[in-house]
Symmetry: C2
Subunit: 372 residues, 2 copies
């Protein structure tokens, strides 16, 4: 919920500290099997059922980092590996699929190679934001100051159990517009925005500390406001980029306006939005408020007609809003289908190791199974 860009592209060093929550793998996850064997002639990787180029630079960064660390700890092993990975949610939809993927891969490889100590730096070498997702709960990625990036790593702020009431509602919106890929957009932002340096130097450091404090103190109101302000400012500097990068669409904006209208109507802060480099909204809210918010969302943003899988994730029932609340909510009702579906989830404990062979995505010979 504190967003950022990169100061060094090749080492994946960020421009500022950032904070995120790791979502529960029970609802949204990447799943990865890694296998090592003297019989394998070359490294290979399959993603969501399709073989990908193992020479991908970020993947190689990650593999090299792992093998280096393994050697440092005295494990010499030059066998080739096979990797098979899949997500249970859409990739490249602004749902941080690459963060989940690289965090999962790193955790799997670290276990295989018996790496000890911090593995967030290894995950970072694959995909920056993945470094936060190798642990559960609320996590802060410290930008660090070393030019080689040795101190740019993630640390848990609190585990998921510290704030068990926190819930997440991901609103997946209809969208047809092509977006600038986030890595390109962020690079262009750092190079051309005349506001981003001010954000990095003078806004985020204090905001990240306040956010951390709000999390530690379970101060929802401050947490929510800081989250919304940081999302808005992140998209502001994307717009100040030249040419500009726009990730939010009309529906994203409608949800944003809805959240402010709802909070105004209940005269409190009950919901917060944040948008990553895409149009989908991630709402943070407390468990007790979820049924009311879902009820109002269903009223103003009716589900698509004949939608079979509109509500995903944890089971929940919306509460029909009172007439009084609807009148106070100065908001218009949209036609059905602005939201494609919603995923209800919570904060999770980070990577899980699956020991049951039925879960594995590679068979005994190292060929992909169950992986599309």
């Amino acid at each position: 919920m504190i967003l950022g860009g990169k100061r060094d592209e090749s080492l994946i060093l960020p421009t500022n500290d950032s904070i995120s929550a790791t979502l529960d793998t029970a609802q949204l996850h990447a799943k990865t099997t890694v296998m090592i064997s003297p019989d394998f002639k070359e490294d290979r990787i399959w993603l969501n059922g399709k073989e990908e180029d193992i020479k991908n630079a970020r993947l190689q960064n990650c593999l090299k980092e792992i093998r280096k660390r393994s050697q440092l700890s005295g494990h010499i092993n030059d066998w080739k590996i096979r990797i098979c990975s899949k997500n249970n949610f859409p990739t490249a939809a602004g749902l941080a699929s690459s963060a989940a993927g690289y965090a999962c891969l790193t955790a799997a490889l670290a276990k295989l190679y018996k790496i000890e100590g911090d593995i967030s730096i290894i995950a970072r070498s694959g995909s920056g934001s993945a470094c936060r997702s190798v642990m559960g709960g609320f996590v802060r990625w410290y930008m660090g100051s070393d030019k080689n990036g040795t101190d740019s790593l993630a640390k848990q702020i609190v585990p998921a159990s510290h704030w068990p009431e926190m819930r997440i509602l991901v609103l997946v919106v209809s969208d047809e517009q092509k977006k600038v890929p986030s890595a390109i957009g962020m690079k262009r932002c750092i190079e051309t925005s005349q506001l981003v340096q001010h954000r990095i130097m003078h806004v985020v450091p204090e905001r990240a500390n306040k956010m951390q404090q709000a999390i530690v103190e379970k101060d929802y109101k401050n947490f929510a406001e800081l989250t919304m302000k940081d999302s808005n400012q992140f998209h502001a500097v994307c717009l100040d980029t030249y040419p500009p990068c726009i990730y939010m669409n009309n529906i994203s904006n409608n949800i944003m306006n809805f959240v402010h209208s709802y909070n105004d109507a209940v005269n409190d802060v009950k919901v917060a939005y944040t948008y990553d480099a895409g149009p989908n909204a991630t709402l943070y809210l407390l468990e007790k408020d979820v049924p009311a918010v879902i009820g109002v969302l269903d009223h103003f943003f009716p589900p698509p007609e004949n939608s079979l899988e509109y509500r995903r994730g944890l089971p929940v029932e919306g509460i029909k809003p009172s007439q009084g609340l609807l009148e106070k909510l100065k908001f218009q009702k949209y036609p059905p289908g602005q939201l494609k579906y919603m995923i209800y989830t919570k904060i999770g404990d980070g990577p899980k190791y699956l020991n049951n062979p039925q879960d594995h995505l590679l068979d005994d010979q190292g060929n992909p199974i169950n992986c599309s």
Copy 2:
């Protein structure tokens, strides 16, 4: 094309210098008749055929300022006045109708009361941006430093004749979303954005000087890039406002992306966009490039079906784009009707005085005629 907010709401003092072009009254104008008579018992005003409250604070500012200036120059006249005004374009559509209206009213009153010298300060007291529109060509509003606003006035950079090739294409887009009124939005921006002070202090001063230089030197490319960057940054600080203010919609964004795609495809800068506090795009381009740009716009943004008055303003024919250009333009074709209509116009010479009684909006008795 350099946008701004206010540092003092009641005196209408801006946070930064700003620059605009005054459009030709032949295409877009406000028209105002003022009349004074010992027979009138009270001041009255009609706008677009409807009587409005003469006690409106901004109108009173303007009237008081005029009467004060008139008395200062020895003209004592306490007769009551009647004002009738109309625009030939939609009000509150982000087309600066209040700037045009107050500039026109000020010019009319100044003539009536025989005011000499600068009248931009009087126009400013009614509507800030009106101060630039009391003169023609490219105009700069100097923010000034006096706390009473005596040095916050507009000066012409160059007359329209300096850059006769410059053209303006206003794209009026379909829009149903309610917007935060710009005066409220700007106030909230100054109070809550953590980026706006950086914009005001460290970006705009240099940018306004560069813009002025580009205008004086008729350097279209620099003019265009500065215009686009300033529009984007203005909307960025609106988004960094809390709660955020969003004036552009998907169609606005599509036009913005189109402009960048077009400039990329022709490997030059041929079109520039700017957005005021609304979704409509104002494109600045040189006369020689207009037919080609209109041809490409018609291709990607087809007019609404059965549209009677799609092309407004100066006559112009689009040139059908070549297949080669369309292939280079990495852009998708939108369904008809994203643009409601377009107005083609140029830079104008500022207020015109209409002496033919047939043009007047008040009859001999001071009653409105021809004014709806």
